[in-house]
Symmetry: none
Subunit: 155 residues, 2 copies
DNA sequence: TATAATTACCCATAATTACCCACAAATCTA
DNA sequence: TAGATTTGTGGGTAATTATGGGTAATTATA
């Protein structure tokens, strides 16, 4: 995944064909690494869309499949849920991707509406502006959240 | 099995000849690896159909025969269940396969009805839309499932 | 072996998608 | 500041995809 450093927040429109623009700075990074394909998927919180540049997706996928067994029912269910809402997109020559109706519905994103793209270092999130606002109001990081994070060898 | 990365969920119709389309992206992957044959079989959960590209089937089969003992009754039963309902299909020139009446019945898939194909990375599942909905309602991944997954060296 | 049923192979078509071009707004450069 | 370039957005068209159905070849059945 090299040196992707997706940061910031961008406002774009969803056109009549359900296309969204990918921030040009992100595109440049991906270009330098010859990546023109991403995988969009349901975010773990389900009310937004995750966008993984292909190499990032592959490592994610491999980590998950490596520890999963096909004969294990829970594992099968997890893989299914994990891949079910994931779909490969190729950036068009204008640097856009086309969202799927199902993911749009999950995220509350509407045709001819708007969307916010947020950089998450090595992947992105696509939010409906309203949903994002709600999320920010409802789930600020608490002191106890930070305490939990302190226990990880993070920062 | 190379680099198959079957993801996503697709809705297709079952025609009067019990044919289903295989998603074109999956076909492309198989084509690149010169695979035009799959094995359809009863899924381990029994209420859907598994579709294995031939090479995947072969490795699965070999793993099973290598670790199973014919003198063990449970093993025999497993092998029987595993192969009994497995049947080889060749994709037609339109990229479709023909399902067998027996597997269709097991999965609740009806002639002239609909079916959902789900990518499972290196194989696929075919579901009756109703059965899938039921399954999703009955077996959602819980918070505790996710907590268990967090303990894996995953993400 | 003759006949019926099934399957493989082919062609046709509507809907969808990928690809291309265009242009206005914003940003950069000299 | 003026011109050039980049960026975001819209839309037209060719190509692909999903689906239906006809017919010859194959298989099963009596």
């Amino acid at each position: 995944m090299g040196y992707s450093d997706f940061t910031g927040e961008f406002n774009y429109s969803i056109d009549s064909k359900n296309r969204v623009n990918i921030p040009s700075r992100y595109r440049k990074t991906m270009n330098e690494e010859n990546v023109c394909e991403v995988v969009i998927s349901k975010g773990f919180d389900s009310n937004h869309i995750d966008v993984y540049p292909l190499p990032k997706w592959i490592t994610l996928r491999d980590k998950i499949t490596a520890s999963m067994q096909l004969v294990n029912r829970v594992h099968r269910n997890f893989i299914r849920q994990f891949t079910q809402n994931a779909s490969h997109c190729t950036l068009d020559s204008q640097g856009r991707i086309m969202l799927t109706p199902k993911l749009m519905e999950m995220a509350g994103i509407k045709t001819n509406g708007n969307a916010v793209i947020i950089g998450m270092i090595d992947f992105m999130e696509i939010w409906d502006p309203e949903e994002l606002k709600k999320h920010e109001e409802n789930t600020p990081l608490t002191d106890s959240d930070f305490e939990k994070l302190e226990q990880l060898p993070l920062i």
